[in-house]
């Protein structure tokens, strides 16, 4: 069995191991990582400071991998084929992969080691920067490249007055030219950051406390700063290879061949520490490709790494910046709009027929369609292409054009997957080809390819309606449609089914209020809504009274206990801090609810696609750690949104402090108390595909919080698909969470007042539907097992006993058939 040892556990190592496992690698894998945590997504590092947890960014570790963290490797014995860690541990290998990455380059300026000076590479670095930012008022980033601007964004996010110092005459000199750099500078200065280009650093000076106080430029000018972040490039971590006699490049980097193998056939090097074809690659895409090549070689393949596309497209401080292909050429075509803050330039061959490269700042619209065309004949005039992707021209890609540069997936591979797997959506393409799974910038492209490959991306809800749920919602809303019959007669065909009927019932309930069992609407409901209870496997139902926030008096607990005992029901505490009573026959439901309603309970809507529960921790009232009254807020929210019909169930929770005992981040909308107010997280769920909610807005007052939740829920109800939880809804919104924020916080569509008014109507129109049912003899008529024998219980329902409670027994078919 091959013993594979990997030194370093960053994204490239993660990708190598994942690829090996996907290829069926049968040997053992041991990873020695210097950091105290497993590999995480460094591309998304800055999001760590805006609410993502280390866990969110962490890559999964395949089962079977032995991971030694905090293990710095100090030596390789190539003769004995072992590596030794700082703690003395020795690990034998048959194949060794060096994935040691790089270290930030800190220029040798006086004062560079003062407390308050940092680099920007690891989660530990970010923790240290965040800690230092508390009590600081201003910070400076040395280096105005891609990572430097990321770091500047982070400092700004931490509330510091932020300066960027860049040696070159313009920002991001590796990605854009002077014109692009000047537009970029305008954007960044408009955000309140100070940009110093063409500026060096003479020294960094301490204050009286010995910590960083100011940065001095060569001309003597000073910038006040209590936090200094160096982001002046990286250097390959090749010291281990160097010490063991492996050849390294003149300017660093472990020399590898096209199979990513070092001079020692048993040792590979991949990622930022490797010098491949004379180049060290720092972007995630090429590093992943290297990992895949090495994995293929280890498995006996013959893959080669022949260089990589260095194109980049990113959004820095809200500004789109992209560059692709060559950044110079015989001819160029430039569009510059200093007022609108847009700069675009294309480089073409001297005959103006071949696209060589391009730069975009402020609008990267053309990037997706033009990047794959580098080196090919121009499909339209350069002027037209400058506006490609922004509604200007429609560019057709050849099959061998690379669509996803992170994962090296071509258009042809995507088309083939669409055809052979019958894919109909972007999620399917991601799963099959991995395209769009790393940086996500090609996702709009994937959508286009889907449409162009003739896949009718059907939005039809079912055979009866050619519309999506969101479209039907608008039709019902705008045309004021009140019944299913009217809707299907005017906008559908046939008589509906189990897909469209409950969906339309939900739309009608969201828009028109009223009792869901009134008139024709009753026939649209699935059995749960029809009997206002949850059907179980033997045809009995379960009952969940509402317990707002999970707070309940002893008297009410006793009532639930008595009801359960008197009707012989099985009882279980739910995950939503309520009590579920199982085993009720339909004719028992009104009797059970009469007792519950008399004791002050109301429907918990556990049966509906509706707000379920707002869970809470005990909060500041009792808890010595709590900073806000989470129970009080949870009750207020649950009472506000109870009965709200939505595309899918809605769950919520409120935690009274950052310890998050209420598990709010696993909810559709979760609230976590801060010293200043409340943080609102949206789009979480447990279930088949668990997902943490993401921070939508921070430090809100209770009033603002409620206003934003009102808008969030109503926007979701209006635009989500049938049975689409908020997580999938947000993922599918073009522009994702940022777009959602624009709509419901910045009111970019001008609909916030309408959304709020709609929620006010819901709140004002709420009534308990179980009380209304037991008070209406007409509605009660349906609660019988047999219409011709109303007093007869269903003889097929039988129970046995387990742990002192009932348990359903299904009658075997032979008996029942007689």
């Amino acid at each position: 069995m091959t013993r594979l040892v990997v030194v370093g556990h960053g994204p490239t190592a993660y990708r190598l191991i994942e690829t090996l496992y996907a290829k069926g690698f049968g040997g053992s894998v041991t990873v020695l990582g210097e950091e105290p945590r497993p590999a995480y997504d460094r591309v998304a590092l800055t999001s760590y400071l805006s609410g993502k947890s280390a866990e969110d960014l962490t890559y999964p570790v395949p089962e079977g991998v032995v991971l030694r963290l905090g293990a710095k490797v100090t030596g390789i014995d190539r003769e004995a084929r072992t590596v030794t860690a700082a703690d003395g541990h020795t690990e034998p290998y048959d194949v060794l992969v060096l994935a040691t990455g790089s270290s930030p380059f800190v220029p040798p300026v006086p004062g560079k080691d003062l407390p308050g000076c940092f680099v920007y590479r690891t989660i530990d670095d970010l923790d240290a920067i965040a800690a230092a930012a508390e009590g600081a008022s201003s910070g400076v980033v040395i280096g105005g490249g891609l990572l430097g601007l990321e770091a500047a964004d982070a400092l700004r996010g931490l509330g510091l007055v932020t300066h960027v110092v860049e040696m070159s005459p313009w920002l991001m000199p590796r990605q854009v030219d002077e014109g692009g750099g000047s537009i970029l500078k305008n954007h960044i200065e408009a955000l309140g950051l100070a940009v110093h280009t063409g500026a060096g650093v003479k020294s960094i000076e301490p204050g009286e406390d010995g910590r960083v106080a100011r940065l001095v430029k060569p001309d003597g000018a000073e910038i006040e700063a209590q936090v200094v972040v160096f982001s002046a490039g990286v250097r390959p971590r090749d010291e281990l290879a160097r010490a063991s006699g492996l050849p390294v490049g003149e300017r660093g980097g472990i020399v590898v061949d096209e199979g990513m193998r070092t001079a020692d056939p048993a040792i590979y090097a991949v990622g930022e520490c490797a010098l491949a074809g004379g180049m060290v690659y720092g972007l995630v895409g090429p590093c992943f490709t290297q990992a895949e090549v090495a994995a293929d070689r280890i498995m006996g393949g013959d893959a080669v790494f022949t260089g990589a596309d260095m194109s980049t497209k990113l959004k820095l401080l809200g500004v789109e910046v992209a560059s692709f292909g060559a950044l110079d050429g015989a001819l160029d075509v430039t569009f510059m709009d200093p007022v609108g803050g847009v700069y675009k330039k294309l480089f073409v061959s001297d005959d103006a027929r071949t696209l060589l490269g391009g730069i975009c700042v402020g609008d990267a619209g053309p990037y997706n369609s033009l990047r794959p065309l580098v080196g090919r004949e121009l499909p339209a005039s350069p002027t037209e292409l400058l506006f490609a992707g922004t509604g200007g021209v429609d560019v057709d890609l050849p099959d061998d054009a690379q669509v996803c540069s992170c994962n090296n997936v071509t258009k042809g591979q995507i088309c083939e997957a669409i055809a052979s797997e019958g894919l109909t959506d972007v999620a399917g393409i991601k799963k099959c080809t991995r395209a769009g799974t790393t940086c996500g910038s090609c996702v709009p492209m994937l959508k286009q390819i889907l449409v162009k490959s003739g896949v009718e991306v059907s939005k039809a809800m079912c055979e009866h309606f050619a519309y999506s749920r969101a479209e039907l919602f608008d039709i019902v809303r705008v045309r004021g449609i009140g019944t299913f019959s009217q809707l299907i007669a005017e906008h559908g065909t046939g008589r509906g089914c189990d897909v469209c009927k409950p969906a339309v019932a939900s739309i009608l309930a969201s828009l028109n209020g009223g009792h869901i069992l009134d008139g024709e609407q009753a026939a649209l409901q699935d059995t749960n809504d029809h009997f206002l209870a949850n059907i179980q496997k033997n045809g009995t139902y379960s009952v969940v009274p509402r317990v707002p926030g999970g707070e309940i008096t002893p008297e009410k607990l006793i009532v639930i206990g008595e009801v359960a005992r008197d009707f012989g029901l099985y009882t279980k505490i739910t995950g939503g801090q309520r009590i579920d009573l199982f085993g009720a026959r339909v004719e028992q439901l009104p009797q059970i609810w009469k007792r519950l309603v008399d004791a002050g309970f109301e429907s918990g809507h556990a049966y509906g696609k509706a707000l379920r529960t707002v869970k809470s921790c005990v909060g500041s009232t009792w808890c010595r750690y709590g900073v806000q009254d989470s129970v009080g807020l949870a009750i207020a929210l649950e009472l506000r949104y109870r009965g709200l019909r939505s595309p899918h169930k809605l769950k919520s929770a409120v935690s009274g402090c950052a310890r998050e005992c209420a598990e709010a981040r696993s909810k559709d909308f979760g609230i976590i108390a801060t010293e200043q107010g409340w943080n609102l997280y949206v789009g979480g769920n447990g279930g088949f595909k668990p997902r943490h909610a993401e921070l939508l807005a921070a430090d809100l007052s209770t009033d603002d919080l409620i206003k934003i939740i009102d808008r969030f829920l109503m926007f979701y109800i209006r635009t989500a698909d049938r049975l689409q939880r908020t997580a999938a809804w947000i993922e599918n919104l073009e522009g994702g969470l940022d777009y959602l924020r624009q709509v419901i916080i910045d009111d970019s569509l001008g609909i916030c007042a309408e959304l709020e008014a709609q929620m006010e109507r819901h709140v004002a129109g709420y009534f308990d539907e179980w009380r209304a049912t037991i008070e209406d003899p007409e509605k009660l008529r349906r609660f019988v097992s047999f219409v011709n024998a109303p007093g007869t219980p269903d003889p097929s329902i039988a129970f046995e006993t387990e742990r002192d409670q009932i348990k359903p027994v299904l009658i075997p078919l032979e008996v029942a058939r007689s």
């Binding site: 055979e463 009866h464 019959s485 046939g494 008589r495 509906g496 089914c497 189990d498 469209c500 009927k501 409950p502 024709e520 009753a522 026939a523 649209l524 409901q525 699935d526 059995t527 749960n528 029809h530 009997f531 059907i535 496997k537 033997n538 045809g539 008529r781 349906r782 097992s785 047999f786 219409v787 011709n788 024998a789 007869t792 269903d794 003889p795 097929s796 039988a798 046995e800 027994v809 299904l810 009658i811 078919l813 008996v815 029942a816 007689s818």
Partner: protein, 119 residues
């Protein structure tokens, strides 16, 4: 545990009155008990009546009468409330798995009274 579910001996071609036609909600089902058998009766949107065995063969639960009634390619159907398989109201055949079907029964209205025959 013992279960008493043996049906009485079946009489031939006898119509059993089960409920008033007005007891049935349009496009909804109800269950009736006839000589120990559970029969799901349905009233279509156009007033037509259908009767199927109430047992959902996939789950074994007696619940078909509580499914959503609609059409599939024009054929009237009920979707099991348990796992949503559709059954033709005309033939009892499962439209998602033709190897499975449920029994059908004759049904009619006489003087406003719904009658079912289990012969």
């Amino acid at each position: 545990m013992s279960v008493e579910l043996q049906a009485s001996p079946v009489s031939t071609d006898r119509w059993h009155p089960v409920c008033a036609y007005s007891d049935l909600i349009p496009e909804r089902g109800a269950c009736v008990l006839v000589e120990g058998r559970q029969i799901a009766v349905f009233r279509g949107f156009d007033g037509a009546l259908y009767a199927l065995g109430n047992r959902d063969p996939f789950s074994g639960a007696y619940v078909l009468s509580r499914g959503i009634v609609g059409t599939r390619a024009g054929e009237p159907m009920v979707a099991s409330p348990m796992h949503k398989q559709a059954f033709s109201l005309l033939t009892g055949e499962c439209l998602d798995d033709p190897s499975v079907s449920v029994p059908t029964y004759r049904i009619r209205v006489t003087d406003g009274v719904v009658e079912v025959s289990i012969a």
